[in-house]
């Protein structure tokens, strides 16, 4: 008896591949945003499937904050070589040096917000008209209202109250010169789906996601890894802990969780039992109730 049912992961996969192909068909100069995190790794995995045996019809774009984990850069370069993709790097340091962006100061300084400047400048420089991102609707409440095809005006801004309705599988990517789209093929995936898919497909991910010993400081309940970008405050001290990262962003704002998960199966068990969201360890989201929406309106990912 042949089966005509797809399980949830295969159905999500089919949907995402459809969206990725639609971007290649509808836009002239698309690009895939690659952060080195698990979502963008899954995105590149799906993109390879969408076009094989041909190579990706678009480059990967990494917005380099200069505050990356060294493991992330190493992993990025290995992956780019393996899939034979073209890599474009937008440097936040250059945006700061050229006066386009101003570095935050203070103990909680982060380059998270000024990444937007570099992203928009890089999109303009290469005339990219669509940026594929790994954003998911379950990540954050403002993202829950995001479309697959998210229209941005020529300033890169998102207008959440005036979004195009999105019906069936008909995606309207029409735009005027200078405008662009952010496209989110993983919109319907949850953190759990991503991990289950990584297991199902045996996708390689950076070692940072697995439990390891690292020097950290506990700041307001968030474990931050020791790096040149973190300065100790009064009363704080470095402690060696067995940790792993649930998300990978900047070293300055990505918190770690205490964990002994050393395999994908362990991670799935941990995620299933988790009592806080993965972004619960992200200092950048804790700034205000609508921090994500406010950043997105300005052109954030």
């Amino acid at each position: 008896m042949q089966s005509y049912n797809l399980n949830h992961l295969r159905e999500l996969e089919a949907e995402s591949i459809f969206i990725i192909r639609e971007v290649a068909a509808q836009f002239e100069r698309p690009v895939l945003l690659f952060s080195g995190g698990k979502d963008s790794i899954v995105m590149s995995h799906l993109a390879v499937k969408a076009f094989r045996p041909a190579k990706l019809p678009f480059p990967l774009l990494h917005i380099d904050t200069g505050h990356n984990f060294p493991e992330t850069i190493e992993f990025r370069d290995g992956l780019v070589e393996k899939i034979g993709a073209r890599l474009v790097v937008g440097s936040v340091q250059e945006s700061i040096d050229s006066g386009r962006a101003t570095e935050e100061t203070g103990p909680n300084a982060s380059r998270n917000i000024i990444q937007t400047v570099t992203l928009l400048d890089t999109m303009e420089k290469y005339s990219f008209d669509a940026a594929l991102g790994g954003g998911r609707r379950d990540e954050e409440k403002a993202r829950a209202k995001e479309r697959f095809f998210s229209h941005r005006d020529s300033f890169g801004q998102w207008d959440p109250k005036n979004q195009r309705p999105e019906l069936w599988n008909l995606f309207n990517g029409r735009k005027i010169q200078g405008e662009h789209f952010r496209v989110f093929p993983l919109s319907n995936w949850t953190e759990m789906d991503v991990w289950q898919y990584i297991l199902l497909e045996q996708i390689e991910i950076p070692s940072l996601y697995f439990a390891h010993q690292r020097e950290c400081v506990n700041r307001k309940g968030v474990w931050l890894a020791k790096s040149d970008y973190i300065q100790l405050l009064d009363g704080e001290k470095w402690e060696t802990k067995q940790i792993r990262f649930r998300t990978i962003g900047d070293m300055s704002c990505t918190g770690a969780t205490i964990s002994d998960a050393t395999t994908i199966e362990d991670i799935i068990k941990e995620v299933a039992a988790a009592r806080s969201t993965e972004r619960g360890t992200r200092a950048d989201d804790k700034r205000s109730e609508t921090a994500m929406e406010d950043r997105k309106k300005e052109g954030y990912f």
Binding site: N7, F51, D138, K145, L167, N169, I268, R275, T277
Partner: protein, 424 residues
Amino acid sequence: MSKIKDNGYLDMELLRFTTAGSVDDGKSTLIGRLLYDSKSIFEDQLESIQISSINRGFEHVNLALLTDGLRAERDQGITIDVAYRYFATPKRKFIIADTPGHVQYTRNMVTGASTANLAIILVDSRKGIVEQTKRHAFIASLLGIPHIIICVNKMDLIDYSESVFEKIKSDLQGFASKLHIRDMQFIPISALHGDNVVDKSKNMPWYGGPTLMYLLETIHIGSDLNLIDCRFPVQYVIRPQSDKYHDYRGYAGRIAGGVFRTGDKVMVLPSGFTTYIKEIDGAEGKVDYAFAPMSVTMRLENELDVSRGDMIVRENNVPEVSQDIDIMVCWMSPKKINVNGKYAIKHTTRDARCIVKNVLYKININTLHRLQDDKEVGMNDIARISLRTTQPFFFDKYKLNRITGSVILIDEATNDTVGAGMIL
């Protein structure tokens, strides 16, 4: 595949549903309840809405704050846009398209309904059937949602009265008899207290039916897609341009209907040429057969000129081919429909332009009467219109296939999506 069998949790079904209700029907509370009881709400989210609730001076933790994420929504206490929520039980993964109840945002319900297997419509037991309820039932049937669950909410406020529930049920069944609804069920609930949401209510022993969660977990959705009529809209042509794959030409797309097998004789539209399927490359590699809704790449035996917007079908089962199409349109723009006006139109992977030839009638969604004298079609109106397209479309009636039977109209000046059309 053996891996999937070893790990049961990798093999769940996906159910997409939409929720609709009028203002204050307790829709957000119900969703909050489903998320909370299925342990999909995390401590940091709960903590964050507890703080927000206190800041806003609410007596109870307001679960609606979980779904109303935008600043304007939190300030005004209303839901503006479709919000998507996710939860899973050991049996299924669920995607909720939570659509706002305000009249002016009806287009959002159409949006949420367009991809749903199931619709939950909330009715406030104290108010009974209101205009919005009828509108929601009508839209759900118009959009061909296979299953509809009517949740009669706030039963706690009417002393869990069986007679009130039965009255609402028979009122709505009377209205729904005029609609095409395959499967409609009624459940008395209290979203606030959890009666009949996940656990059976102790307050309503007279109700012998399933709880909402049980129904969501068990309702049969396997037959919701058309697996009879083979339709493969070509989305993208893969040509590697490398020495190794010099002659490779693959047609990529998502199967919109039916089952395709290697060796099948197929016809390519619009050319009408026939050939055989040489190879099907699925997401997991080469497969012998593929079915809707898989994304695959097909290779054909003969070198034919096939491009995006073409459709691969079976020779003895072809869709309708025409430039004249009648649709039921839901209008989504504050700018009224322009009769004799031109619009861009999208159908499967085909882009074209069209002219609106005629408005045949508008529908009064409360009485379902056809208004033949009122041809002004504005925001949230539903009307039957005739189109002529600049090139032939290959389509099926929406009733038969939601993918090959749907179109969107786009304003060429603003690029906004202004109409959602279902082919009649």
